[in-house]
Symmetry: C2
Subunit: 262 residues, 2 copies
Protein backbone atom coordinates (compact mmCIF):
# COMPACT_ATOMS: atom_id res chain seq x y z
CA UNK A 1 0.00 0.00 0.00
CA UNK A 2 1.21 3.45 -0.87
CA UNK A 3 2.11 5.62 2.07
CA UNK A 4 -0.52 8.19 3.00
CA UNK A 5 0.09 11.11 5.32
CA UNK A 6 -3.25 10.86 7.18
CA UNK A 7 -2.76 12.08 10.74
CA UNK A 8 0.97 12.11 10.13
CA UNK A 9 1.52 15.69 8.95
CA UNK A 10 5.14 16.47 9.76
CA UNK A 11 5.30 20.20 10.43
CA UNK A 12 9.08 20.45 10.50
CA UNK A 13 9.41 18.70 7.16
CA UNK A 14 6.79 20.97 5.58
CA UNK A 15 8.41 24.14 6.99
CA UNK A 16 11.74 23.02 5.56
CA UNK A 17 10.03 22.28 2.24
CA UNK A 18 8.44 25.76 2.14
CA UNK A 19 11.78 27.40 2.92
CA UNK A 20 13.54 25.45 0.19
CA UNK A 21 10.75 26.42 -2.23
CA UNK A 22 11.22 30.05 -1.19
CA UNK A 23 14.95 29.86 -1.91
CA UNK A 24 14.18 28.46 -5.34
CA UNK A 25 11.71 31.29 -6.03
CA UNK A 26 14.24 33.90 -4.88
CA UNK A 27 16.61 32.75 -7.62
CA UNK A 28 14.02 33.98 -10.15
CA UNK A 29 12.92 37.07 -8.22
CA UNK A 30 13.69 40.27 -10.17
CA UNK A 31 15.20 38.15 -12.96
CA UNK A 32 12.06 36.82 -14.60
CA UNK A 33 9.46 37.83 -17.15
CA UNK A 34 5.79 36.98 -16.93
CA UNK A 35 3.20 35.72 -19.37
CA UNK A 36 -0.59 35.62 -19.32
CA UNK A 37 -2.59 32.46 -18.62
CA UNK A 38 -5.90 31.64 -20.33
CA UNK A 39 -7.74 33.48 -17.52
CA UNK A 40 -5.52 36.54 -18.27
CA UNK A 41 -3.77 36.37 -14.89
CA UNK A 42 0.02 36.30 -14.74
CA UNK A 43 2.34 33.30 -14.46
CA UNK A 44 6.13 33.13 -14.44
CA UNK A 45 8.67 30.37 -14.93
CA UNK A 46 9.18 30.55 -11.16
CA UNK A 47 5.56 29.54 -10.43
CA UNK A 48 5.98 26.42 -12.55
CA UNK A 49 9.43 25.52 -11.22
CA UNK A 50 8.45 25.96 -7.57
CA UNK A 51 5.24 23.99 -7.99
CA UNK A 52 7.09 21.14 -9.71
CA UNK A 53 9.62 21.12 -6.88
CA UNK A 54 6.91 21.01 -4.18
CA UNK A 55 4.81 18.40 -5.95
CA UNK A 56 7.82 16.12 -6.59
CA UNK A 57 8.95 16.27 -2.98
CA UNK A 58 5.46 15.62 -1.60
CA UNK A 59 4.75 12.85 -4.08
CA UNK A 60 8.00 11.09 -3.22
CA UNK A 61 7.18 11.14 0.50
CA UNK A 62 3.42 10.52 0.26
CA UNK A 63 2.67 8.79 -3.05
CA UNK A 64 -0.94 8.00 -2.13
CA UNK A 65 -1.90 11.62 -1.43
CA UNK A 66 -3.55 14.02 -3.86
CA UNK A 67 -1.81 17.22 -4.86
CA UNK A 68 -3.72 20.25 -6.13
CA UNK A 69 -1.55 23.07 -7.40
CA UNK A 70 -2.41 26.39 -9.00
CA UNK A 71 -0.36 25.51 -12.09
CA UNK A 72 -1.14 21.79 -12.60
CA UNK A 73 -3.86 19.13 -12.38
CA UNK A 74 -4.56 16.68 -9.55
CA UNK A 75 -3.97 13.05 -10.48
CA UNK A 76 -5.44 11.67 -7.22
CA UNK A 77 -8.52 13.78 -6.71
CA UNK A 78 -10.29 11.12 -4.60
CA UNK A 79 -7.47 10.52 -2.12
CA UNK A 80 -8.39 11.18 1.52
CA UNK A 81 -5.35 13.40 2.06
CA UNK A 82 -4.85 16.38 -0.23
CA UNK A 83 -1.98 18.84 -0.43
CA UNK A 84 -3.03 22.19 -1.83
CA UNK A 85 -0.22 24.33 -3.17
CA UNK A 86 0.22 27.90 -4.25
CA UNK A 87 3.87 27.97 -5.27
CA UNK A 88 3.86 31.78 -5.43
CA UNK A 89 0.80 33.48 -4.02
CA UNK A 90 1.04 37.07 -5.24
CA UNK A 91 2.52 36.32 -8.66
CA UNK A 92 1.80 39.85 -9.89
CA UNK A 93 3.84 41.25 -7.00
CA UNK A 94 6.62 38.74 -7.63
CA UNK A 95 6.69 39.56 -11.35
CA UNK A 96 6.82 43.30 -10.59
CA UNK A 97 9.75 42.82 -8.21
CA UNK A 98 7.64 43.77 -5.19
CA UNK A 99 8.38 42.04 -1.89
CA UNK A 100 5.06 40.64 -0.59
CA UNK A 101 4.51 37.14 -2.02
CA UNK A 102 4.56 33.73 -0.42
CA UNK A 103 4.77 29.98 -0.77
CA UNK A 104 1.56 28.45 0.57
CA UNK A 105 1.03 24.80 1.49
CA UNK A 106 -2.27 23.54 2.89
CA UNK A 107 -3.07 20.01 4.03
CA UNK A 108 -6.57 18.56 4.00
CA UNK A 109 -7.87 15.26 5.40
CA UNK A 110 -11.43 14.43 4.33
CA UNK A 111 -13.11 17.82 4.22
CA UNK A 112 -10.98 19.36 6.98
CA UNK A 113 -8.08 21.70 6.31
CA UNK A 114 -5.82 20.39 9.07
CA UNK A 115 -2.47 22.10 8.70
CA UNK A 116 -0.75 24.85 6.79
CA UNK A 117 2.52 26.65 6.21
CA UNK A 118 2.82 30.08 4.58
CA UNK A 119 6.31 31.45 3.98
CA UNK A 120 7.24 34.94 2.73
CA UNK A 121 10.83 34.62 1.49
CA UNK A 122 11.76 38.31 1.05
CA UNK A 123 10.38 39.28 4.44
CA UNK A 124 11.37 35.95 6.04
CA UNK A 125 8.07 35.49 7.86
CA UNK A 126 7.04 31.86 8.32
CA UNK A 127 3.51 31.11 9.55
CA UNK A 128 2.54 27.60 10.66
CA UNK A 129 -0.29 25.56 12.18
CA UNK A 130 -0.98 21.89 12.61
CA UNK A 131 -3.39 19.90 14.78
CA UNK A 132 -1.04 19.55 17.72
CA UNK A 133 -0.26 23.15 18.60
CA UNK A 134 -1.08 26.85 18.24
CA UNK A 135 -0.64 29.08 15.21
CA UNK A 136 2.86 30.51 15.09
CA UNK A 137 4.86 33.14 13.23
CA UNK A 138 8.62 32.57 13.29
CA UNK A 139 8.20 30.33 16.34
CA UNK A 140 6.05 32.75 18.35
CA UNK A 141 2.40 32.04 19.17
CA UNK A 142 0.04 34.42 17.36
CA UNK A 143 -3.61 35.41 17.77
CA UNK A 144 -6.14 37.54 15.92
CA UNK A 145 -6.80 41.13 17.05
CA UNK A 146 -9.36 41.61 19.83
CA UNK A 147 -12.59 43.42 19.04
CA UNK A 148 -11.62 47.13 18.86
CA UNK A 149 -13.02 49.55 21.43
CA UNK A 150 -13.41 52.21 18.76
CA UNK A 151 -12.97 52.33 15.01
CA UNK A 152 -11.05 55.35 13.81
CA UNK A 153 -8.60 56.40 11.11
CA UNK A 154 -5.89 54.10 12.48
CA UNK A 155 -8.15 51.00 12.33
CA UNK A 156 -6.83 48.83 9.60
CA UNK A 157 -7.98 46.07 7.26
CA UNK A 158 -6.58 44.51 4.07
CA UNK A 159 -8.21 43.74 0.77
CA UNK A 160 -7.40 42.33 -2.63
CA UNK A 161 -6.39 45.00 -5.12
CA UNK A 162 -9.87 45.37 -6.69
CA UNK A 163 -11.63 46.92 -3.68
CA UNK A 164 -12.44 50.03 -5.77
CA UNK A 165 -14.23 47.94 -8.40
CA UNK A 166 -16.18 45.66 -6.05
CA UNK A 167 -17.25 47.61 -2.99
CA UNK A 168 -18.97 50.76 -1.90
CA UNK A 169 -17.53 51.43 1.51
CA UNK A 170 -17.31 54.18 4.08
CA UNK A 171 -14.95 52.25 6.34
CA UNK A 172 -13.36 54.99 8.45
CA UNK A 173 -9.92 53.40 8.73
CA UNK A 174 -7.11 52.27 6.46
CA UNK A 175 -7.62 49.73 3.67
CA UNK A 176 -4.31 48.31 2.50
CA UNK A 177 -3.61 45.86 -0.25
CA UNK A 178 -0.23 44.22 0.25
CA UNK A 179 -0.50 41.87 -2.70
CA UNK A 180 -0.94 38.21 -1.64
CA UNK A 181 -4.12 36.63 -0.24
CA UNK A 182 -2.39 34.06 1.97
CA UNK A 183 -0.08 36.70 3.43
CA UNK A 184 -3.11 38.92 4.09
CA UNK A 185 -4.77 36.10 6.03
CA UNK A 186 -1.60 35.46 8.02
CA UNK A 187 -1.36 39.10 9.03
CA UNK A 188 -4.97 38.86 10.22
CA UNK A 189 -3.97 35.74 12.20
CA UNK A 190 -1.13 37.68 13.82
CA UNK A 191 -3.44 40.54 14.81
CA UNK A 192 -1.70 43.13 12.62
CA UNK A 193 -5.01 44.04 10.99
CA UNK A 194 -8.65 43.46 11.91
CA UNK A 195 -9.73 41.58 8.81
CA UNK A 196 -8.99 40.83 5.17
CA UNK A 197 -11.33 40.72 2.19
CA UNK A 198 -10.58 38.79 -0.98
CA UNK A 199 -12.35 38.30 -4.30
CA UNK A 200 -12.08 35.55 -6.98
CA UNK A 201 -10.71 33.17 -4.36
CA UNK A 202 -9.44 29.71 -5.36
CA UNK A 203 -8.71 27.00 -2.82
CA UNK A 204 -4.95 27.39 -3.24
CA UNK A 205 -5.24 31.06 -2.25
CA UNK A 206 -6.49 30.13 1.22
CA UNK A 207 -5.58 26.48 1.90
CA UNK A 208 -2.33 27.28 3.68
CA UNK A 209 -3.68 30.15 5.73
CA UNK A 210 -7.00 28.58 6.76
CA UNK A 211 -5.63 26.31 9.53
CA UNK A 212 -3.31 29.13 10.69
CA UNK A 213 -6.20 31.55 10.97
CA UNK A 214 -8.44 29.00 12.74
CA UNK A 215 -5.77 28.17 15.34
CA UNK A 216 -5.20 31.91 15.88
CA UNK A 217 -8.89 32.43 16.74
CA UNK A 218 -10.18 33.45 13.32
CA UNK A 219 -12.08 31.96 10.44
CA UNK A 220 -12.54 32.20 6.70
CA UNK A 221 -16.13 32.50 5.52
CA UNK A 222 -17.95 33.71 2.48
CA UNK A 223 -18.81 37.40 2.75
CA UNK A 224 -22.35 36.67 3.99
CA UNK A 225 -20.95 34.54 6.83
CA UNK A 226 -21.72 31.14 5.31
CA UNK A 227 -19.02 28.46 5.27
CA UNK A 228 -16.35 28.31 2.59
CA UNK A 229 -17.19 25.19 0.50
CA UNK A 230 -13.67 23.82 0.81
CA UNK A 231 -14.10 20.29 -0.50
CA UNK A 232 -16.13 21.49 -3.47
CA UNK A 233 -13.34 23.92 -4.41
CA UNK A 234 -10.92 20.98 -4.83
CA UNK A 235 -11.89 21.01 -8.52
CA UNK A 236 -10.26 24.43 -8.85
CA UNK A 237 -13.49 26.42 -8.87
CA UNK A 238 -13.64 29.84 -7.24
CA UNK A 239 -15.54 30.68 -4.05
CA UNK A 240 -19.07 31.81 -4.97
CA UNK A 241 -18.68 35.15 -3.13
CA UNK A 242 -15.86 37.36 -1.85
CA UNK A 243 -14.40 35.92 1.35
CA UNK A 244 -13.75 37.47 4.76
CA UNK A 245 -10.84 36.45 7.00
CA UNK A 246 -11.17 37.60 10.62
CA UNK A 247 -12.36 36.62 14.07
CA UNK A 248 -16.13 36.11 14.10
CA UNK A 249 -16.56 39.34 16.09
CA UNK A 250 -14.37 41.44 13.81
CA UNK A 251 -15.98 39.93 10.71
CA UNK A 252 -19.36 41.14 12.00
CA UNK A 253 -17.99 44.65 12.50
CA UNK A 254 -16.19 44.93 9.17
CA UNK A 255 -18.97 43.35 7.10
CA UNK A 256 -21.39 46.18 7.79
CA UNK A 257 -19.12 48.77 6.13
CA UNK A 258 -19.07 47.02 2.75
CA UNK A 259 -21.81 46.89 0.16
CA UNK A 260 -21.32 45.29 -3.25
CA UNK A 261 -21.33 47.84 -6.07
CA UNK A 262 -24.37 47.53 -8.31
CA UNK B 1 32.42 79.44 9.67
CA UNK B 2 30.31 76.35 10.25
CA UNK B 3 30.64 73.60 7.67
CA UNK B 4 27.78 73.45 5.17
CA UNK B 5 27.13 70.53 2.83
CA UNK B 6 26.24 72.67 -0.23
CA UNK B 7 27.25 70.79 -3.36
CA UNK B 8 29.06 68.27 -1.19
CA UNK B 9 26.38 65.64 -0.61
CA UNK B 10 28.24 62.41 0.15
CA UNK B 11 26.04 59.59 -1.11
CA UNK B 12 28.03 56.76 0.46
CA UNK B 13 27.96 58.42 3.87
CA UNK B 14 24.18 58.97 3.64
CA UNK B 15 23.53 55.38 2.51
CA UNK B 16 25.56 54.12 5.46
CA UNK B 17 23.63 56.49 7.74
CA UNK B 18 20.28 55.19 6.43
CA UNK B 19 21.37 51.58 6.92
CA UNK B 20 22.52 52.26 10.48
CA UNK B 21 19.19 54.00 11.15
CA UNK B 22 17.40 50.95 9.75
CA UNK B 23 19.32 48.64 12.06
CA UNK B 24 18.34 50.81 15.00
CA UNK B 25 14.68 50.70 13.94
CA UNK B 26 14.80 46.91 13.55
CA UNK B 27 15.74 46.60 17.24
CA UNK B 28 12.28 48.05 18.04
CA UNK B 29 10.36 46.29 15.26
CA UNK B 30 7.72 43.93 16.71
CA UNK B 31 8.82 44.91 20.23
CA UNK B 32 7.24 48.33 20.51
CA UNK B 33 3.95 49.95 21.41
CA UNK B 34 2.54 53.02 19.76
CA UNK B 35 0.88 56.19 20.99
CA UNK B 36 -1.16 58.90 19.30
CA UNK B 37 0.19 62.34 18.45
CA UNK B 38 -1.86 65.52 18.64
CA UNK B 39 -2.95 64.99 15.02
CA UNK B 40 -4.13 61.47 16.05
CA UNK B 41 -1.54 59.71 13.89
CA UNK B 42 0.70 57.08 15.45
CA UNK B 43 4.23 57.50 16.79
CA UNK B 44 6.51 54.96 18.48
CA UNK B 45 9.65 55.21 20.58
CA UNK B 46 11.48 53.98 17.47
CA UNK B 47 10.47 57.04 15.41
CA UNK B 48 11.92 59.34 18.08
CA UNK B 49 15.09 57.31 18.62
CA UNK B 50 15.84 56.95 14.90
CA UNK B 51 15.20 60.63 14.21
CA UNK B 52 17.46 61.68 17.10
CA UNK B 53 20.18 59.37 15.76
CA UNK B 54 19.91 60.79 12.24
CA UNK B 55 19.73 64.42 13.36
CA UNK B 56 22.74 64.04 15.69
CA UNK B 57 24.90 62.44 13.02
CA UNK B 58 23.98 65.03 10.38
CA UNK B 59 24.39 67.95 12.77
CA UNK B 60 27.83 66.73 13.81
CA UNK B 61 28.99 66.52 10.20
CA UNK B 62 27.18 69.62 8.86
CA UNK B 63 26.50 71.97 11.77
CA UNK B 64 25.40 74.88 9.52
CA UNK B 65 22.65 72.87 7.77
CA UNK B 66 18.98 72.86 8.70
CA UNK B 67 17.28 69.61 9.71
CA UNK B 68 13.54 69.10 9.36
CA UNK B 69 12.24 65.88 10.87
CA UNK B 70 8.75 64.51 11.26
CA UNK B 71 9.17 64.31 15.03
CA UNK B 72 11.08 67.51 15.85
CA UNK B 73 11.50 71.19 14.98
CA UNK B 74 14.06 72.82 12.69
CA UNK B 75 16.48 75.12 14.48
CA UNK B 76 18.06 76.45 11.25
CA UNK B 77 15.08 77.04 9.02
CA UNK B 78 16.87 79.68 6.94
CA UNK B 79 19.97 77.64 6.12
CA UNK B 80 20.60 77.11 2.41
CA UNK B 81 21.02 73.36 2.83
CA UNK B 82 18.21 71.39 4.46
CA UNK B 83 18.05 67.73 5.43
CA UNK B 84 14.50 66.42 5.53
CA UNK B 85 14.02 63.25 7.52
CA UNK B 86 11.30 60.69 7.97
CA UNK B 87 12.87 58.30 10.47
CA UNK B 88 10.14 55.71 9.84
CA UNK B 89 7.84 56.38 6.91
CA UNK B 90 4.95 53.95 7.38
CA UNK B 91 4.80 54.12 11.18
CA UNK B 92 1.39 52.42 11.25
CA UNK B 93 2.85 49.46 9.35
CA UNK B 94 5.90 49.39 11.63
CA UNK B 95 3.74 49.50 14.75
CA UNK B 96 1.54 46.68 13.41
CA UNK B 97 4.58 44.50 12.73
CA UNK B 98 4.07 44.72 8.96
CA UNK B 99 7.15 44.76 6.74
CA UNK B 100 6.81 47.78 4.40
CA UNK B 101 8.29 50.86 6.09
CA UNK B 102 11.39 52.87 5.39
CA UNK B 103 13.96 55.39 6.52
CA UNK B 104 13.79 58.42 4.23
CA UNK B 105 16.46 61.14 3.90
CA UNK B 106 16.08 64.04 1.48
CA UNK B 107 18.58 66.81 0.83
CA UNK B 108 17.60 70.26 -0.42
CA UNK B 109 19.77 73.18 -1.58
CA UNK B 110 17.85 76.42 -2.03
CA UNK B 111 14.49 75.27 -3.35
CA UNK B 112 15.86 72.20 -5.14
CA UNK B 113 15.59 68.68 -3.73
CA UNK B 114 19.00 67.48 -4.89
CA UNK B 115 19.54 64.03 -3.42
CA UNK B 116 17.76 61.31 -1.52
CA UNK B 117 18.10 57.91 0.07
CA UNK B 118 15.17 55.63 0.96
CA UNK B 119 15.93 52.37 2.76
CA UNK B 120 13.47 49.56 3.57
CA UNK B 121 15.19 47.54 6.32
CA UNK B 122 12.97 44.42 6.39
CA UNK B 123 13.00 44.03 2.63
CA UNK B 124 16.59 45.34 2.34
CA UNK B 125 15.82 47.59 -0.65
CA UNK B 126 17.97 50.73 -0.79
CA UNK B 127 17.04 53.47 -3.28
CA UNK B 128 19.42 56.35 -3.99
CA UNK B 129 19.91 59.42 -6.17
CA UNK B 130 22.25 62.37 -6.16
CA UNK B 131 23.24 65.01 -8.71
CA UNK B 132 26.12 63.01 -10.16
CA UNK B 133 24.44 59.82 -11.30
CA UNK B 134 21.25 57.90 -12.08
CA UNK B 135 18.60 56.64 -9.66
CA UNK B 136 19.55 53.25 -8.30
CA UNK B 137 18.03 50.38 -6.30
CA UNK B 138 20.58 48.16 -4.59
CA UNK B 139 23.23 49.42 -6.98
CA UNK B 140 21.25 48.84 -10.19
CA UNK B 141 20.03 51.70 -12.37
CA UNK B 142 16.24 52.05 -12.32
CA UNK B 143 13.65 53.82 -14.48
CA UNK B 144 9.91 54.46 -14.41
CA UNK B 145 7.56 52.22 -16.38
CA UNK B 146 7.00 53.11 -20.05
CA UNK B 147 3.58 54.27 -21.13
CA UNK B 148 1.46 51.07 -21.28
CA UNK B 149 0.13 49.85 -24.64
CA UNK B 150 -3.12 48.81 -22.97
CA UNK B 151 -4.61 49.18 -19.53
CA UNK B 152 -6.15 45.97 -18.21
CA UNK B 153 -6.68 44.08 -14.97
CA UNK B 154 -2.95 43.53 -14.50
CA UNK B 155 -2.15 47.27 -14.78
CA UNK B 156 -1.11 48.37 -11.38
CA UNK B 157 -0.88 51.54 -9.29
CA UNK B 158 -0.41 52.28 -5.59
CA UNK B 159 -2.26 54.59 -3.27
CA UNK B 160 -2.32 55.69 0.33
CA UNK B 161 -4.72 53.61 2.44
CA UNK B 162 -7.63 56.07 2.20
CA UNK B 163 -8.38 55.64 -1.51
CA UNK B 164 -11.93 54.47 -0.67
CA UNK B 165 -12.64 57.68 1.25
CA UNK B 166 -11.13 60.15 -1.22
CA UNK B 167 -11.73 58.94 -4.75
CA UNK B 168 -14.41 57.73 -7.07
CA UNK B 169 -12.55 55.59 -9.54
CA UNK B 170 -13.21 53.04 -12.23
CA UNK B 171 -9.52 52.30 -12.80
CA UNK B 172 -9.60 48.88 -14.47
CA UNK B 173 -6.42 47.53 -12.88
CA UNK B 174 -5.05 46.81 -9.43
CA UNK B 175 -4.81 49.47 -6.72
CA UNK B 176 -2.46 48.38 -3.98
CA UNK B 177 -1.57 50.13 -0.76
CA UNK B 178 1.69 48.82 0.62
CA UNK B 179 1.86 51.20 3.55
CA UNK B 180 4.62 53.83 3.14
CA UNK B 181 4.54 56.86 0.82
CA UNK B 182 8.29 57.01 0.16
CA UNK B 183 8.41 53.28 -0.62
CA UNK B 184 5.45 53.73 -2.98
CA UNK B 185 7.32 56.45 -4.85
CA UNK B 186 10.44 54.31 -5.06
CA UNK B 187 8.49 51.43 -6.56
CA UNK B 188 7.15 53.86 -9.17
CA UNK B 189 10.75 54.94 -9.83
CA UNK B 190 11.73 51.29 -10.37
CA UNK B 191 8.87 50.74 -12.82
CA UNK B 192 7.09 48.16 -10.64
CA UNK B 193 3.87 50.15 -10.85
CA UNK B 194 2.62 52.91 -13.16
CA UNK B 195 1.93 55.56 -10.54
CA UNK B 196 1.27 56.28 -6.89
CA UNK B 197 -1.29 58.57 -5.30
CA UNK B 198 -0.93 60.01 -1.82
CA UNK B 199 -3.06 62.24 0.40
CA UNK B 200 -2.18 64.46 3.38
CA UNK B 201 1.41 64.64 2.19
CA UNK B 202 4.07 66.36 4.29
CA UNK B 203 7.49 67.23 2.92
CA UNK B 204 9.17 64.44 4.89
CA UNK B 205 6.90 61.88 3.17
CA UNK B 206 8.37 62.73 -0.25
CA UNK B 207 11.72 64.51 0.29
CA UNK B 208 13.79 61.34 0.01
CA UNK B 209 11.94 59.89 -2.94
CA UNK B 210 11.60 63.08 -5.01
CA UNK B 211 15.19 63.13 -6.37
CA UNK B 212 15.05 59.36 -6.93
CA UNK B 213 11.87 59.62 -8.93
CA UNK B 214 13.15 62.60 -10.96
CA UNK B 215 16.39 60.82 -11.89
CA UNK B 216 14.35 57.73 -12.85
CA UNK B 217 12.26 59.75 -15.31
CA UNK B 218 9.31 60.62 -13.11
CA UNK B 219 8.00 63.54 -11.12
CA UNK B 220 5.92 64.43 -8.11
CA UNK B 221 3.16 66.94 -8.73
CA UNK B 222 -0.07 67.98 -7.12
CA UNK B 223 -2.97 65.96 -8.46
CA UNK B 224 -3.95 68.68 -10.95
CA UNK B 225 -0.42 68.63 -12.38
CA UNK B 226 0.84 71.81 -10.75
CA UNK B 227 4.21 71.80 -8.99
CA UNK B 228 4.65 70.57 -5.43
CA UNK B 229 5.41 73.72 -3.37
CA UNK B 230 8.48 72.16 -1.80
CA UNK B 231 10.12 75.17 -0.16
CA UNK B 232 6.82 76.34 1.32
CA UNK B 233 6.31 72.89 2.89
CA UNK B 234 9.54 73.33 4.90
CA UNK B 235 7.33 74.72 7.69
CA UNK B 236 5.73 71.27 8.05
CA UNK B 237 2.51 72.14 6.24
CA UNK B 238 0.77 69.56 4.05
CA UNK B 239 0.51 69.66 0.27
CA UNK B 240 -2.68 71.53 -0.71
CA UNK B 241 -3.96 68.56 -2.81
CA UNK B 242 -3.32 64.83 -3.11
CA UNK B 243 -0.09 64.19 -4.98
CA UNK B 244 0.72 62.00 -7.98
CA UNK B 245 4.08 60.24 -8.44
CA UNK B 246 4.69 58.96 -11.99
CA UNK B 247 6.22 59.79 -15.35
CA UNK B 248 4.44 62.77 -16.95
CA UNK B 249 2.84 60.42 -19.52
CA UNK B 250 1.62 57.90 -16.96
CA UNK B 251 0.39 60.67 -14.66
CA UNK B 252 -1.79 61.94 -17.52
CA UNK B 253 -3.24 58.45 -18.04
CA UNK B 254 -3.89 57.66 -14.39
CA UNK B 255 -5.28 61.09 -13.50
CA UNK B 256 -8.31 60.69 -15.73
CA UNK B 257 -9.55 57.64 -13.78
CA UNK B 258 -9.80 59.48 -10.46
CA UNK B 259 -12.43 61.99 -9.37
CA UNK B 260 -12.55 63.45 -5.86
CA UNK B 261 -15.58 62.23 -3.92
CA UNK B 262 -18.07 65.01 -3.26
Amino acid sequence: MKKSSANAFELEWVVDLARRAGELALRYYRHTTSERKADRTIVTAADRAVEAFLADEIHRRYPADGILGEESSNSQRNAECQWILDPIDGTSMFAAGLPIWCVSIGYMVGDQMQAGVVYLPVVDDCFTADLSGPAMCNGEVIAVAPEPEVLDEESSIISSSDVHLIWDTDFVGKIRSLGACAAHGCYVARGSVLAALNTHTALWDVAGVLPILQRAGGEITLFDGSPLPVRRMLDGSKAPQPILMASAANARIVRQFFKRKP
